[in-house]
């Protein structure tokens, strides 16, 4: 099935610069409906109030980390199948393994290029 370029995407990061970068890259790739959240807790409330097609989240945030958000999403009956990509500077094997075990769909190490973001989006959502 073709990717709907107007599907709502939620990006979660406590650095406004990073939110802006990811938003701009997604826009350049053709996605038109992008929301932002500064931490996991805010993101969770937003996920429960709108039907998002994808979450792109940082790991290291307060009060709720991206990893905690991922676990809550996977434990939620409604949200559990939500495509979830982790974009983080945490680049230890144990982080990737823990995220994978928790059910993340893909994992991007910061800093990343537009090409890497596009490749991971394709891997998770399909061709666009």
């Amino acid at each position: 099935m073709a990717v709907q370029m107007n599907m709502p995407i939620l990006i979660v990061d406590d650095y406004r610069t990073m939110l802006r970068i990811i938003r701009n890259l997604l826009s350049k790739l053709g996605f038109t409906d992008i929301d932002e959240a500064p931490d996991g807790e805010t993101a969770l409330a937003m996920l429960k109030s709108r039907d998002y097609g994808l979450v792109i989240s940082d790991w290291n945030m307060q009060p709720m980390t991206g990893f905690e958000l991922l676990k809550v999403v996977r434990a939620d009956a409604v949200l559990k199948t939500m495509p979830f990509i982790m974009v983080t500077a945490e680049s230890k094997v144990e982080n990737v393994q823990a995220a994978r075990q928790a059910g993340v769909n893909n994992y991007i190490i910061k800093p990343f290029s537009a090409a890497v973001l596009k490749a991971k989006l394709k891997a998770v959502l399909g061709e666009f």
């Binding site: 990061d13 650095y15 610069t17 990073m18 802006r20 970068i21 701009n24 890259l25 350049k28 790991w59 290291n60 980390t65 990893f67 905690e68 500077a89 945490e90 680049s91 230890k92 094997v93 144990e94 982080n95 990737v96 393994q97 823990a98 994978r100 893909n106 994992y107 991007i108 190490i109 910061k110 800093p111 990343f112 290029s113 537009a114 890497v116 891997a123």
Partner: protein, 172 residues
């Protein structure tokens, strides 16, 4: 009082002062020993130094990338508008990518700040130990971090972390 008695009293006083000085030195040595923190010297301070080095390298690299993208745009031949638009788009993407340094350096600076706070607390303990304002508390054994918290390390230094290619293999 005879001059002999006066001399003896002075010698006693001097001797007592010497004993007090030695005692103070011994107490100081003991307190310094208690404040000694090998982890601060062997782990935290070198790490902070490397983090600052990585910040310098990354900001320089990002600045260079942004300037290169801007130079590429300035050098464009605008007589071919479609090609120029494509090149401008690509250059903008490179600028966005380069700007992600701010997030990484922010996390590195946060790690350096943690080390500075550790140094500050050691200095405070040291001052308290010598001012007599408060006794030095016994060394508190650091609580083992919660397993999730143990995964929060921030950006890795060169040679420490894994590359995106390795991650891709795990998700292939």
């Amino acid at each position: 009082m005879s001059s002999n008695e006066a001399n003896t009293a002075r010698i006693k006083k001097l001797t007592q002062e010497c004993v007090d000085i030695v005692r103070t030195i011994l107490v100081a040595r003991r307190e310094m020993g208690r404040l000694h923190d090998p982890e601060l010297r062997q782990v935290h301070l070198p790490r902070a130094s490397e983090e600052i080095g990585a910040i310098l390298t990354m900001t320089e690299s990002a600045t260079n990338d942004i300037m290169l993208a801007a130079e590429d745009m300035m050098a464009l031949d605008l007589s071919e508008p479609d090609f120029a638009a494509e090149q401008i788009n690509a250059a903008c993407m490179r600028i966005f990518e380069a700007c992600s340094f701010q997030d990484i350096t922010g996390q590195r600076i946060a790690n350096v700040l943690k080390t500075l706070q550790l140094v500050e607390s050691k200095i405070e303990e040291f001052e308290n130990a010598f001012s007599g304002a408060a006794s030095v508390e016994p060394e508190v054994v650091a609580e083992k971090p919660h397993s999730d918290a143990a995964l929060l390390n921030g950006p890795a230094l060169e040679g420490e972390g894994i590359e995106q290619d390795f991650v891709d293999q795990l998700f292939a």
